[in-house]
Symmetry: C2
Subunit: 280 residues, 2 copies
């Protein structure tokens, strides 16, 4: 049993499991307008951000999640120029999106500016592209933004949200997906982080249903390792209004540098579904 002074432990009632990281010290704690944000210095995983007692990211392993939330969907779209990130306040997804030279504008909309300010201090490597002239950072309600967005104005929407409890809950709803569908161009794509393939199977089914009801004709689920999230195995679900799934731009996957997990082989691997998922 870890000494409570030396370990940060997140336990999940819903899954009956927990994950712990050994820490040197707490670097920061605050109650923002929206949530409690803590930053720890760990012994082996770099810095750790915790929101409302849930582990959000560490320096060591966030590359897995951020790369898989951005590159698969961007390489599946034929020519993404206009990208919107809902959530993603740590700016790690934004950094990955900006690696794509064809992207002309990325709007990141996180309701809580404090997440970004703390990321700039404690995860500066994730924020190094924030000054890119193509990046726009808004600190407002992402759902309202999406509801007012011009029809058919966006190529790719990345829903980089917290879990479907608290402030993130409304991002897992048919109404939100409907607003996204309206904002997307006809060949657009959305990707939503969709929790653990093993532990949150009902949620995954609900996401499929809700996306379908909202007008998305085709979906694909990506799976990838993410040690600090419950069960260490995570998923993201992509969807498009088009009936035919687009042909990914394989030839361009090796042309962008700086990725530590994603490559062409991992792209295909992430789309392979375990037997228990194909049966469902």
């Amino acid at each position: 049993m870890p000494d409570t002074n030396q370990w940060f432990t997140e336990t999940s009632d819903a899954t009956g499991s927990g994950f712990a990281l050994r820490v040197h010290r707490k670097l920061h704690e605050e109650q923002s307008q929206y949530q409690k944000i803590e930053i720890y210095e760990t012994t082996d995983w770099g810095n750790l951000m915790v929101i409302d007692d849930c582990i959000m990211l560490t320096t060591r392993d966030n590359f897995l999640y951020h790369e898989m939330m951005s590159h698969p969907v961007l390489f599946t779209h034929p020519d993404p120029k206009r990208v919107v990130i809902i959530g993603g306040g740590d700016c790690g997804t934004l950094r990955e999106v900006l690696r794509h030279p064809g992207v002309q504008q990325v709007t990141q909309i996180d309701i809580d500016e404090r997440v970004t300010r703390l990321s700039e201090t404690y995860f500066p490597e994730l924020c190094k592209s924030n000054d890119d002239p193509r990046a726009e950072l808004l600190f407002i309600d992402g759902i309202k933004w999406m509801q007012k967005a011009e029809a058919a104005s966006v190529d790719v929407i990345i829903v980089d949200s917290t879990d479907p409890v608290g402030p993130g809950e409304v991002l897992f709803s048919e109404a939100f997906y409907r607003a996204c569908h309206h904002a997307l161009r006809t060949d657009g794509l959305i990707v939503q982080q969709s929790e653990s393939p093993l532990l949150h199977r009902e949620l995954l089914k609900r996401i499929y249903r809700d996306m379908e009801s909202a007008g998305f004709a085709a979906t694909r689920t990506l799976q990838f390792p993410q040690p600090v999230y419950p069960g260490g195995w995570w998923s993201a679900t992509m969807a498009t209004p088009m009936r035919a799934w687009p042909e990914p731009r394989y030839a361009e996957m090796e042309k962008i540098a700086g990725m530590r997990y994603f490559n062409r082989a991992i792209f295909d691997a992430s789309l392979a579904l375990p037997a228990f998922m194909t049966e469902e």
Copy 2:
């Protein structure tokens, strides 16, 4: 922080991380001749086996590890008839191997008979093939068995060992791989569980080096999710004395029923290496 009465937590000094499962109660504890073995009833993961304070398996997620330790190597071998499992006392790997109709004999060699006896009681579904006439269960030292094995008598060796500390340490050594190489037929294959791709990169490199020094000409690493092991992301390394890697028997992968993770797409996916591993 979990209540120590309700959670079993394994923390790893080497990785600075830990994993916890909520438990109803401890079902059994004993000090065998070789190690401390505990069995818990968890709230959401079925039964849990712990050896020397390290989580070995749960009812809920062991299928991931057992399927990936057996099917990829068996489908890579052109015609596996004689299989040897070193370790694997819970019999989960044995059950998977026996799904292959071409396999004529499987010898499982675990030094600690108590692991198998407790698995029969608490994980009976893993032991349901133990009476198969093709199965032979030996409770002796696997290294000594391998050193005395007839040359070129085995098609596939599966090293289903504990971590490279304590009794399992000698199974991660050039000397052991040399004995395996001697026992394998010229087109034989070995697979060794090789820890976390993210957290044990030095160990993985050592395994490659040691296998090569022992005479194996080609290696391939498989990666797969395994929630209850450190970091939730695991690997196994296959090797063969042959210079050319064999063509997997893809056509037969869909012919065997009962798998919950493994299928043809997952086979290929498990061989995809993350960018940081291909660079190394």
